[in-house]
């Protein structure tokens, strides 16, 4: 029988994983919408068509992460809340700018370009800051000063580990969103836009792999413990690598029954599997620490009664919302009348 703490961290892990995929696609789409604003292939339009109905929901996922973390691991909220004041405040700042400007850009005629640029660039900065949680949680960047803990900002910002993580985050964001938008363009019957996103993905795929490799190779000395654990979990990374090659290769598979190249839907799903496998390996290696070396899931855990009432609410909430999500998916990710408008 799984312990309550492990069940809770498993749920957290699922939320984090789902958000990292959807968040990457969301912020990446914002970036591509900026790059391909007024592009003849409609690549920018397609990115926006996806974003307008979905960004709110992706944002709600981010809030869900925070709330679930506070509910399951209150002590973790205490530690991270104390330590992460500066980076998280910056994330919030950019997030507000990004969402507001994106919404505003739908309602203005002039300045639209400026708004796209502002929201596109903040969409690159947010994931870079978000991923900084990982190196911090691996230890070495938190100082203790009497009673209180604080983040060693200088050490963090001069550490190559941080920048490698950021690079990994950025390349992954762009790779995933290219793959997603390639698929979205294909469903929308915009073959030119599809080809554009596909060629972006061809370029970005190997870059994600390289940056992942470098991140592992140049981990900070404080993360020795993690590297040892990661080696124990190598099977997951081998599987993940295999998934990468299958996914990447499928960009060249012929299309079913029709001329054309690539199976974007398959590529996307296989890539999600690739990230899933790798993050299972990473997650297992990270356990039981939330923040190394002081905070484990066992110390941070919530009151048992609260845990169970939260679990019940998850089940009830999901049951109520699932039809809503289904209708939403039908209307915006499948309905040809929405996708194929000019």
């Amino acid at each position: 029988m799984m312990s309550e703490e492990v069940l809770a961290i498993l749920i957290m892990w699922t939320f984090i994983f789902v958000y990292s995929i959807f968040g990457s696609i969301d912020f990446g789409a914002g970036f591509w919408a900026m790059i391909y604003n007024n592009h003849r292939t409609m690549a920018g339009k397609i990115a926006n068509r996806f974003l307008s109905p979905t960004w709110e929901i992706t944002n709600t996922f981010l809030v869900l992460l925070v709330v679930a973390f506070v509910g399951f691991f209150p002590k973790g909220a205490y530690t991270l809340g104390t330590v992460m004041l500066v980076p998280v405040s910056l994330i919030l700042f950019f997030l507000a700018i990004r969402s507001a400007f994106m919404v505003f850009s739908y309602s203005v005629q002039g300045y639209r370009r400026t708004m796209f640029i502002i929201s596109g660039i903040s969409g690159l900065l947010i994931p870079s800051l978000l991923i900084a949680v990982l190196p911090i949680s691996q230890g070495g960047f938190i100082g203790v000063d009497g009673e209180t803990q604080n983040l060693l900002l200088e050490k963090l910002f001069t550490s190559p580990t941080l920048y490698l993580y950021v690079l990994f985050g950025l390349t992954s964001e762009l790779y995933l969103s290219s793959l997603f938008l390639a698929d979205y363009a294909r469903v929308s019957n915009k073959e030119e836009a599809y080809r554009l996103y596909r060629s972006n993905a061809i370029l970005l795929g190997p870059l994600t792999l390289l940056s992942a490799l470098f991140t592992l190779l140049f981990m900070a000395p404080e993360s020795r413990w993690l590297i040892d654990n990661l080696v124990d979990q190598k099977i997951w990374f081998v599987l993940s690598l295999a998934a990468f090659f299958i996914a990447y290769g499928s960009l060249w598979w012929p299309k079913q029954n029709r001329p054309g190249i690539g199976r974007p839907r398959f590529t996307l799903l296989a890539t999600v599997a690739q990230y899933g496998l790798a993050s299972i390996g990473y997650g297992l290696a990270h356990l039981p620490y939330i923040v190394y070396p002081d905070l484990t899931i066992y110390e941070a855990f919530t009151a048992t009664e609260t845990f169970y009432s939260l679990m019940i609410m998850y089940i009830v909430g999901l049951a109520i919302l699932t039809p809503g999500f289904y209708v939403f998916w039908r209307l915006f990710l499948k309905d040809k009348r929405y996708l194929q408008q000019e």
């Binding site: 530690t79 507001a100 919404v103 009664e305 909430g317 915006f332 309905d335």
Partner: protein, 446 residues
């Protein structure tokens, strides 16, 4: 400024900003639902146009409501880590359910806005209904946390701070939950209705073609009817909230009334300010016996005064003024809505006269005034709880972050809020200038 004061100012500003958009985010969907219903029942296209234009405004406001809400949600952990540690153990349930309410609202908002033309008519009504439901549910759920801070329940705490015997549902349904969250929802509806009335009245100030005047009059009448009803209910529910204070947070009621001596036949003090030197209310009007009567329905009710409690736990004296301002807003707006409806019924409607300018101008200010009432109410509720963050469990100083980097961040966010406020106004006015009602009317009839 020391860190605790800075944290309070920072957080109060963030909430004060979010609440403007959040309140309209609760109030406007109700108006949209009502307009959609009238449209489907009466077949009058003007109401469809109203629903469409309000939805547009609502969508722009959501663009600020959502990120600013995300900010306050996360800032709770950043600025009050000690508080959130207890919240996580005891009262994370409403936060969690609120997420589902957000999802509900976000899903159906997108459906209503981006898929309405592909849906059968009844489904439009269903989706906008769910938007309104999600919005009011999120307001009620977040209020649950605040009411628990005022009247904490559902757990026990050892002197060393260990929490045990947690019952999340008791925490959720704490003694002030029903009365306060009802008050929050109703005042949000009231504010949304007055906001619509403000705009309609403003449009009626200028000369316009008869067709457009008729359109704005319909909007004005509908919003006034809702505003009147909600003002009336909100004063009743506010009265009930005060009775809950009498039972569960007596020092807050005492501070709100500037009452120092515990007494039966206690007087109600209206206006004036609490003088810290002489410890009495100066320049106020006293209505004998009224406070006792309001607190529990009998003149001989004993109302506790501040001397009953240790001085270190007295709330700040200015809450008396805040309380008066909130109640004042409620009374003035209730009167205004009643008068405007009365006027319309007996003079404007029967003799085909229009509203006089001064009445229209007063109505223009009703929306902002109502919003001020919301702000006064919150600052009253949160400051009146001082020095506690969780009443008699955790002080604000214990809850606050020890991080010293707040100053710069506070400035950064002040800049952000100023920027977003200005842009929201600019964008709304530019949009509605470019798309006047006449355009929507042509599109529908043409």
């Amino acid at each position: 400024m020391d860190t605790v004061v800075l944290a309070r100012a920072f957080f109060g500003t963030s909430l004060g900003f979010h609440i403007i958009f959040a309140t309209l985010g609760v109030g406007l969907p109700l108006m949209i639902v009502i307009a959609e219903i009238i449209h489907q029942v009466k077949g009058d296209n003007d109401y469809a146009i109203m629903a469409k234009r309000w939805t547009k405004a609502f969508a722009v406001l959501l663009g600020v409501a959502i990120p600013s809400g995300t900010i306050v949600g996360v800032q709770l952990s950043l600025l009050w880590p000690g508080f959130m540690e207890i919240v996580g153990k005891v009262i994370s349930l409403p936060f969690q359910i609120e997420i589902f309410a957000f999802f509900l609202e976000a899903l159906f908002m997108s459906i209503y806005v981006y898929a309405a033309d592909r849906l059968p008519r009844y489904f439009r009504l269903i989706s906008v209904f769910f938007v309104a439901l999600g919005a009011v549910a999120s307001a009620i759920l977040i209020s649950a946390v605040n009411t628990w801070m005022n009247t904490p329940d559902g757990f026990k705490i050892k002197p060393d701070g260990t929490i045990y015997d947690v019952n999340p549902w008791d925490a959720f349904f704490n003694p002030s939950f029903l009365s306060s969250s009802f008050h929050v929802a109703i005042t949000a509806y009231m504010t949304g209705a007055f906001a619509v009335a403000s705009v309609a009245a403003f449009k009626l100030l200028k000369k316009r073609p008869e067709r457009e005047r008729a359109y704005h009059l319909k909007g004005l009448f509908m919003s006034l009817a809702v505003a009147f009803l909600m003002s009336f209910v909100s004063s009743l529910s506010g009265h009930h909230s005060a009775q809950i204070l009498h039972q569960h947070s007596p020092e807050k009621l005492a501070a709100a009334e500037g009452l120092f001596e515990t007494q039966r036949y206690a007087p109600l003090a209206i206006g004036g300010y609490t003088d810290p030197k002489t410890e009495e209310v100066k320049y106020g009007i006293e209505i004998p016996w009224a406070l006792s009567w309001l607190a529990a329905g009998k003149f001989d009710t004993e109302v506790k005064g501040l001397y009953e409690f240790p001085r270190e736990t007295w709330p700040p004296f200015y809450v008396h003024t805040l309380f008066n301002l909130m109640v004042g807003v409620g009374v003035v707006l209730l009167g205004l809505a009643a008068f405007a409806l009365f006027y319309w019924w007996f003079f404007a409607k029967k003799r085909a006269k229009s509203f006089p300018k001064w009445l229209l101008w007063s109505l223009v200010f009703s929306g902002p005034l109502s919003m001020l009432g919301i702000e006064f109410g919150w600052v009253f509720s949160c400051s009146g709880r001082q020095p506690w963050t969780i009443y008699r469990v955790q002080t604000t100083a214990e809850a606050a972050t020890k991080n010293e980097n707040l100053g710069m961040l506070f400035l950064l966010f002040l800049f952000l809020y100023a920027l977003l406020s200005v842009l929201t106004v600019l964008i709304l006015t530019a949009y509605f200038k470019r798309n006047p009602v006449s355009k929507d009317m042509e599109r529908i009839s043409g």
